[in-house]
Symmetry: C2
Subunit: 343 residues, 2 copies
DNA sequence: ATGAAAGCGCTAACAG
DNA sequence: CTGTTAGCGCTTTCAT
């Protein structure tokens, strides 16, 4: 015998107690409208009396779903945990899921082997949907998900033509706003430190920079490649880029860095070079990590609505799961320029 | 009919293909020794050919288990995410679970309502075990878990008499080592900034301090309450405590802070007061957040083996789940003094 | 060692 | 609207 009748009441016992059939109980539980008020009341009473809680596994088996979604964290990014970004994303997801009985599975993928394993999970339909963060351009997972027709939402996108649903921050707009701010404040030679060009997010921020300088009135001379230096989203990269810029255009009086960490590096170099920040050279960074904010609380930056991104990702995913159709959604959330310096 | 025969091969199909009964396939999958090599080989071949993956829900239903554990994060701590501590804990758990087919559920609990909901989860045996972090002394969850006979492991403990299994850092030893270090370096008036006395971790670190000063040779005068100031694990708390100490014992030449954040606060006050750190006053903090490390990379501190704690928690939990018996395990992991200043 | 059979608790199709 | 009836895919006796 198997039947460790776990002690826990079953749907059948509820039905008995309520004096109805199992089907009716099931309907009540699942909020079907095709139930009389009388029956519904009886069932609800029975449920309360018995302290009945549906068995998830049975439900999943019979209903061919799992009521669970996975949040996938690729390895190089497990460090990501240590950042407010991640904290906020998770908090947002949690908030959105709170009123659902959807479970959140945390899946760390650090090796190709683990990725293969996760692919199996997916194939076995062990989750109803997937949330992906920090997806790289060459990540095979999104395509696999699509092929499997598994609902999925990315945070960020791989390119302009992203086919999978995604929720992203308005990187172009944020960068544009940052640079426009600098220009509006009277800065005439505004440079930018970019991220790796093979990352969409880096290209977007560069686009924003370009739009702002090109549309600026007055004699800024439009887009000047000498004012663009490539960084790699690290502090050291920011340092190198800033040194280059200083050599190429010593008269720089404003810098937009595509990440706050790079901004911190740039600031250090500027000060070493005897430039006052922000008086001589105003600096704005795109706030990814907020670690840099600890380093310099006075750094003006472009803030992302991270928690809202998490919430939105979850909401979009739930919608995608609900409607069986595979409609892709693309959401871009606004960023906000937070001025922390006095210039 | 229900049978959206999902396309996925079932155990039965494997059995057919392998020319054996379903029971045999099940035994092979679960690594039962009571299977002939021949049958085993046949089954494994069939599994590979068909790309069979067991259905988790069916398994859970039949086996009365879930192959999932929950990591519970109480609300006030969701900020915790933003710290390396959390990152490391999760990485450790992930590493330990990687070779298992145990899933990790992330459960955020921010309201009493959500706690009640989670209690239902537990009662409904929706997970095989629970991992709890940052448990407060008055947290009702551990007792509930115990009452439900649900395997559980805490990170840290509520008191000396903790009944639930836990994995903790050696707070007493770490504090003792820190203070002994200070004394060995010639510091004669070593003060301490403590955490809230209703937190076990704070009391432990104070105990370590006391042990070190009491066992110190030479004229340190033993434990002096005037050298103990209460903080609250915040930077501002550290500041206040440091100011008090400076008033009570202006001659202080060493400080052990029960957290690195408080150490950062103390350092700021010391410098304002014209004391050189670490030359005039050497400072050691207990490394909880590492945010402070960013503020002052040169701060000597007591480091905790956080990732190992996560790994250990998971391992202990898996063991507890495996053996049905409810044996409690208490693991205390060593800390390490990392000297980052030159004094 | 292994096949057969009996569920695990629930959902959904079906017939009223 | 509601009771009945088939399974969902697997584990676990129970014989053999």
């Amino acid at each position: 015998m198997n039947g460790r009748h776990s002690g826990r009441p079953t749907l059948e016992e509820v039905a008995l107690r309520a004096g109805v059939g199992r089907g009716t109980v099931s309907r009540v539980i699942n909020g079907s409208p095709r139930v009389s008020d009388r029956a519904k009341a009886a069932v609800e009473a029975a449920i309360a009396e018995l302290g009945y809680v549906p068995n998830r596994a049975a439900r999943a088996l019979a209903g061919n779903r799992t009521d669970a979604i996975a949040l996938v964290i690729p390895e190089p990014e497990t460090r990501l945990f240590a950042e407010p970004y991640f904290s906020d994303i998770i908090r947002g997801i949690g908030a959105e899921l709170a009123d659902t009985d959807m479970q959140l599975l945390l899946t760390l993928i650090r090796t190709p082997k683990e990725r293969a394993r996760f692919a199996q999970y997916l194939a076995a339909h062990r989750v109803d949907g997937v949330l992906l963060v920090s997806v790289h351009e060459d990540d095979p997972l999104p395509d696999l998900l699509e092929q499997l027709e598994m609902p999925a939402v990315l945070n960020g996108r791989r390119s302009d033509l992203e086919s999978v649903s995604y929720v992203d921050a308005d990187n172009v707009g944020g960068a544009r706003a940052a640079v426009a701010h600098l220009i509006a404040r009277g800065r005439r030679q505004v440079a930018t430190i970019t991220g790796p060009p093979d990352m969409y997010v880096a290209r977007s921020r560069l686009d924003g920079y370009r739009q702002a300088v090109e549309s600026a009135a007055g004699g800024l001379g439009g887009f000047d490649t000498a004012l663009v230096a490539r960084g790699d989203f690290t502090e050291e990269g920011g340092r190198r880029a800033m040194r280059e810029l200083l050599v190429r255009r010593p008269g720089i009086d404003g810098v937009f860095a595509a990440s706050d960490v790079m901004a911190a590096g740039a600031r250090a170099v500027l000060r070493e070079a005897g430039r006052r920040v922000p008086e001589d050279v105003a600096l704005v960074g795109f706030e990814d990590s907020a670690i840099a904010r600890h380093m310099d609380p006075a750094l003006t930056s472009v803030r992302q609505p991270t928690e809202e991104m998490g919430r939105t990702m979850a909401r979009v995913l739930l919608e995608e799961i609900a409607e069986r159709a595979s409609v892709r959604r693309h959401v871009v959330l606004a960023t906000e320029l937070v001025q922390r310096d006095s210039v």
